[in-house]
Amino acid sequence: MRRRRFSASSAVVTAITVAIAVVWVFPVYWALNTSLSVDTQTVKIPPVWVPSPPILDSFKYVIANTAIIRWYFNSVVTSLAIDVLVLFLTMMCAYALSQIAFRGRRALFVFFLAGFMIPGATNVVPLFMFLNRLNMVDTYLGVILPQLVYPIAVVVYKQFFDQMPQELGDAARMDGASDFRILFTIFLPLNLGITWALAIVLFLFAWNNFFWPFIIIASTPMMTIPVGITQVQSWYGIAYPRIMASAVLAALPTAILYLIFQRRVTQGVAITAGIK
């Protein structure tokens, strides 16, 4: 065990650190506070620090008067589809790259790695034209398909599959198991931890993605939630409690996901950034 020195200076550093963290999350608290207040409270000086009493009127208003339920549905459908499809595509691809010695697999892997050099935002114009030709503007498929390109997930899975003991696949193969069976009944269960971490961050990234849905979605009912809530302001002018209520609703699923799976989220974020 490492000895921890209890000194006045370390107590001061601790106090400063905690103070910074509190200041850092304060805007989130303030959004929550405003969303639970009435309009007249939010323009009071001095400000009302705690809503008294907290009211849900703004939430009710946003749910009743905007398409937010529909945006929720759109976000759930597209994010889950992206999540599940990316996991399957990258897992299968990584299994072949890691476990089957076909010719050209190194070249293929390098080809996927080269994708990291392409900045996503500069591709949106031809991407839009392409999906337009496929009649996918303003559709779920239009939102989903370009978000399936996650070469980093291939790299992560390949790293994990490379570390699997060799006897594992060999033994199953002797028993006549196909590569698909080996992948889904042996490799996948043994790599559930990393799969969960990837699943959670991929969902988070898909849910939070703003730019692509913003480009490809044209009509209000098809918007995902991060795009939709930017409409709330024009929907009924500046009314901060309502805007904050829509922001709170938009952030709720990912915030809950984070609070429950904090360790998995940080693991997934770190691993997709290239740090193990």
């Binding site: 963290a21 805007p27 904050m244």
Partner: protein, 302 residues
């Protein structure tokens, strides 16, 4: 040859490099991702280059015009302005975001039981959608009723002030994303063996500053350079926060390059010219990040 002779374990060579397989299996496993990769990453990348030599509209209809778009780009004052604003944003964001991340990480690793909740609080903004972040800050920094102006006694309209709009956008970006940098730095700091510090203390290294200078800084450098490169690539592509906070205002003073590409493509329907802007930015990102990687490696391994 499509099939390699099967090896026995006795060969002691990696058998996964030599067992039998069917190409059908390989194709079925690899094709789905490869098709998606080719269609939605490789193909658009090639198309950007091709379209930049055409006068296409946003539907992709147009004809070859040679280097006319590039000639026009060089004389386009708004393009250069957008490029300068992007560079200004990078200057305000990349190094400060990295420095703040490192400082917060250094503070966090000193904590005991409080480490996990403090980390959670600093990381929380990172998991919010960008539009939630911008709506929160539009309210907190509201001119008349914003809590920030109330607490500080200022009366600024932060996001529409010619001097403060871009710094305010950069600040919001740091608030939003620093948790990511902290995460990487904490991981890097934790991997430094404690013995190094103990040995340094025995050798008479005085205090934390020397330990930082001779142990922490060089050993955490790989993380620092990774964060700097990731930041640079991400911030070149700044659009969302600017679009949602200032919408390029006041008077186009914060319009950034991707936003100018967006305006040309989706508001003016100049598909060809928009891809020319994309190409310029693409080349800048590639060249600057490769240069940065070389430079940082050089500095990291003297």
């Amino acid at each position: 040859m499509t099939q390699v002779p099967e090896q026995t374990k006795a060969d002691r060579r990696p058998s996964r490099a030599g067992r039998r397989f069917s190409w059908r299996t390989v194709v079925v496993l690899i094709a789905p991702f490869t098709v998606v990769y080719l269609a939605f990453l490789v193909y658009p990348t090639v198309r950007v280059l091709m379209l930049s030599f055409t006068n296409s509209d946003i539907a992709g209809r147009g004809s070859f015009v040679g280097i006319a778009n590039y000639a026009h780009l060089l004389k386009d004052a708004l393009f250069w302005a957008s490029l300068w604003h992007t560079v200004y944003f990078i200057l305000l964001c990349v190094v400060p975001n990295t420095a703040v991340g490192l400082i917060f990480a250094l503070m966090i690793v000193r904590l005991g039981r409080l480490r996990s909740p403090v980390m959670a609080m600093l990381f929380l903004p990172y998991i919010l959608p960008v539009s939630v972040v911008t709506q929160i800050w539009l309210w907190v920094l509201d001119t008349n009723y914003g809590i920030f102006n109330y607490l500080t006694g200022t009366k600024l309209n932060w996001f529409q002030d010619p001097h403060w709009a871009m710094p305010a956008v950069a600040f919001v970006t740091i608030w939003w994303t620093v948790g990511f940098n902290i995460l990487l730095f904490v991981a890097g700091l934790q991997s430094i063996p404690q013995e190094y510090y103990e040995a340094a203390a025995l050798d008479g290294a005085s205090g934390g500053l020397q330990a930082f200078r001779y142990i922490t800084w060089p050993l955490v450098w790989p993380v620092t350079s990774l964060v700097l490169v990731l930041q640079l690539i991400a911030q070149w592509q700044i659009f969302n926060q600017v679009y949602l906070l200032t919408n390029g205002g006041p008077y186009n003073s914060t319009i950034v390059t991707i936003q100018y590409m967006y305006i040309q493509a989706f508001q003016l329907h100049h598909g060809g010219y928009a891809t020319t802007i994309s190409m310029a930015l693409f080349v800048l990102i590639l060249v600057s990040s490769l240069a940065q990687i070389r430079l940082l490696r050089f500095r990291g391994n003297p």
